[in-house]
């Protein structure tokens, strides 16, 4: 009798569990904070209860995944936009929505004061830990197959490529990134500013990143070190504040076009007479016209200022203030 009762309870609980897990988002966890513009969704689905999954982003992008009889886990990389993202995952059985789950994700941006830090309810998410990877290895090779100091001839052979290909789609791409030499920077170490990441992910990047950057860009370190004046982000080795080390539509992988980027912090330069205000009332332009000293590029902050270091105060490109004028005003 006792045995019978035990079986009854067991089968009930099993059935209950079955209905509960018809669709389950394994990662990301609720209120997932991300620094990268894509997030990997891992969805567990029971083939007996649903026959297709739909992922719907808040920009109404819909991704359909059919259910395969041989597997119970499904992965998809979802592109994120800066700020709060709400992604719905809907399970269908015979074209009827059976189960719906949603996740809130937040993409921070280093060059957007509003979205610089995670809101209180969000927690920074980490993907590459042993617990998550245990699921992944059923289908994916989760090892690093990169040869130190030698790029892939066919980048698609990188084990990182399949899930992270979104990061290298923009116009200007950083060579180590587009050649999938990921561990050059993602060395699993942490810096003084991201000690919290320690041991949470295998592929953390030290913050400040400077030493990693300068391991290749040695010349810059040497040159800038000799200069009297330094731009704070460059000096403190936080190159990734302005540069996106993967890919960006702007030259030099800047996170915004250079004028927009500079004025993110230097807001007082947006309006008003920055360079010189003549008696004719119109101030000297700082953008929107061609730069005679670097044709055919547009005038921008970097036309006059060095964004990293200089021997002239105000980080000017020239030896003196008058020198900077004569770069364009030749007579």
């Amino acid at each position: 009798m006792k045995l019978y009762l035990f079986f009854l309870i067991f089968s009930f609980s099993w059935l209950f569990a079955q209905t509960q897990t018809s669709l389950n988002i394994v990662t990301p966890q609720p209120f997932y904070g991300s620094e990268e513009n894509s997030a990997s969704f891992v969805i567990e689905a029971k083939k007996t209860l649903i026959d297709s999954i739909e992922i719907i982003t808040d920009t109404n992008e819909t991704i359909k995944i059919p259910i395969d009889a041989n597997r119970s886990f499904y992965c998809k990389s979802i592109k994120l936009h800066v700020g709060e993202n709400r992604v719905k995952v809907v399970g269908y059985k015979n074209a009827v929505a059976v189960k719906e789950e949603a996740r809130e994700l937040y993409l921070t941006s280093k060059v957007d004061k509003e979205h610089r830090y995670l809101p209180k309810e969000y927690v920074k998410g980490y993907f590459h830990n042993d617990e998550n990877e245990k699921l992944c290895v059923q289908c994916h090779d989760m090892s690093v197959n990169e040869v130190k100091g030698e790029a892939f001839v066919d980048v698609k052979k990188s084990n990182c490529y399949e899930c992270h290909k979104n990061i290298n789609t923009k116009k200007h791409a950083h060579a180590p990134s587009v050649n999938w030499l990921c561990t050059t920077c993602h060395n699993g170490e942490v810096g003084a500013l991201n000690k919290a990441d320690s041991a949470k992910t295998k592929y953390s990047v030290p913050d400040p990143i400077g030493d990693v950057c300068f391991s290749c860009h040695k010349k810059h370190k040497e040159e800038w070190g000799k200069n009297r004046f330094n731009h704070e982000p460059a000096e403190s080795g936080r190159c990734n504040k302005c540069h996106n080390s993967h890919s960006e539509d702007n030259e030099m992988y800047l996170r915004k076009s250079s004028w927009d980027l500079c004025t993110t912090c230097h807001k007082d330069k947006i309006e008003g007479a920055h360079v010189v205000k003549t008696f004719g009332r119109a101030a000297h332009p700082t953008h929107g016209v061609k730069d005679p000293s670097r044709m055919p590029k547009e005038l921008s902050c970097i036309s006059c200022h060095s964004p990293h270091a200089s021997n002239t105060s105000s980080l000017l490109h020239s030896q003196s203030v008058m020198g900077i004028c004569s770069r364009c005003h030749k007579k």
Partner: protein
Amino acid sequence: MKKNISKLLGAVVIVGALAYMFQTYGVGEKLGRLVVIMEDIAHSLKNAKHAYEDVNFTISDDELRDIDIVKISKEMQSSIDKKKEQRAEVKAPPQIKADEVRVEEQPQHNKTAAREAKIVKLEDLPEKFKPLKQYLHQPFKMGACQICHDSNSKNPGALIQKKIQDICYECHKTRYTKEFDHTPVKDGKCTDCHDPHQSNSKMLLKADSVNELCMKCHDAKSTFEAKAKKLFVDMKLEVKHKPIVEKSCLECHDAHTADHKSLLSFDGKMDLCLDCHDKEKEKVTHSKFKHGGVNTSQKKCLECHNPHATQHKKLLKKDPVATCLECHNKEVKSDEDGGMLMNMKKHFDENPNWHKPIKDPKKGCSACHEPHGSDNFSILKKSFTKNFYANLENKDFFCFECHNESKITKRVIKSNENNVTSFRDGEINLHQLHVNDRKGRSCRACHDEHASKYSHLIREYTDFNGVKFPLRFVETPEGGSCAPACHKEFAYDRVNPKGIGSK
């Protein structure tokens, strides 16, 4: 009245002068501008925004976390340390001891007094000595047989002493003064080489010439004595060392005794060679970069050259490339910077397309490298660069000795100038674009100067900051494409241009 008129006149003159000034110096215009300026200043003062934003001094926890206190404290500490260092006393350098001067002892040679001897007339000499030869031993010429032979003995040729050398050294006392002796000298066999009576060659040799005499024993095919192989010299080979042919073995070797091995007056590995080879001496001793093969190797010159005779030009032991690959068949430590030089043999074996000069049997590696030493890195004969980026302004690269400079200077190449370069997109010269446009890149960024799997010696990988990036070069009949680390996949075509030049 008169006063009033003069006042009026004065006023008229002043007004006139003012009007004239107004006219000539444009004072009115200037005053007008001043009014505009003042207006502008007033406008700006009234309307311009404050130059700086109001600063919000509240710092959030997140922002506070971003401030690197450890680094700031480290910087402060290092600046304090620096000042301390400046104050620290500078230690006096240790005094250098004077070199000990050693004086070599010079051996003393004393001439022996002439001996009294019973003289035999030339006509009375035994028949076997006739006819007399060109050169005669002095005692023999004098007929002083008794100096060497015992006249009281029953045997006609009996000697006064048992050992020949004891007799010779009675007069010739200058032997046995140096470190190494010729084996016959050591064994006291003077008569192995010299005839004690007479000879047709100088020094009373037992052969017609010095070389002939030497080769009696030192010929590889000689069966005279079973000696170590290294003592044999094969002088039948095609290329012979000039001094041996034009003069004799004695140009380098001493027949009796010497201070250095192989009976040489200097160290045979290098010093002896450089005694004659002035050009090489300059290179070996004074060049900025030295070849480890000559400079630090065990056998020095003899690593590559045979001092007697070989089958290959320049007395090389093997043909030019093979000689180099004798050592460069593994990674070798560079004398230049202590780095490792690549395994060239493996590189040549794996990559079938070799740079043309290397294939030239007369030149080989020495087409570009100066094996004795050079002032250019990698002991190159002329300047080149190690860097990926290089300013091609002076264009003094070695490459342009053979390759035409117009390859990299001309922007547009017409299709009838096909020989200048075929790396074109339509008529746009992509060499110029890569190398001489905005940034100077050196030839080696894309080309492997030794050998490659690809045509045009295109590298499989280019080294950029210590990372090997594949060029991913694909050749098509009229063009090709590359997808290196520098840019995305770009294709070019000589017939149907892809428009790269406009990018």
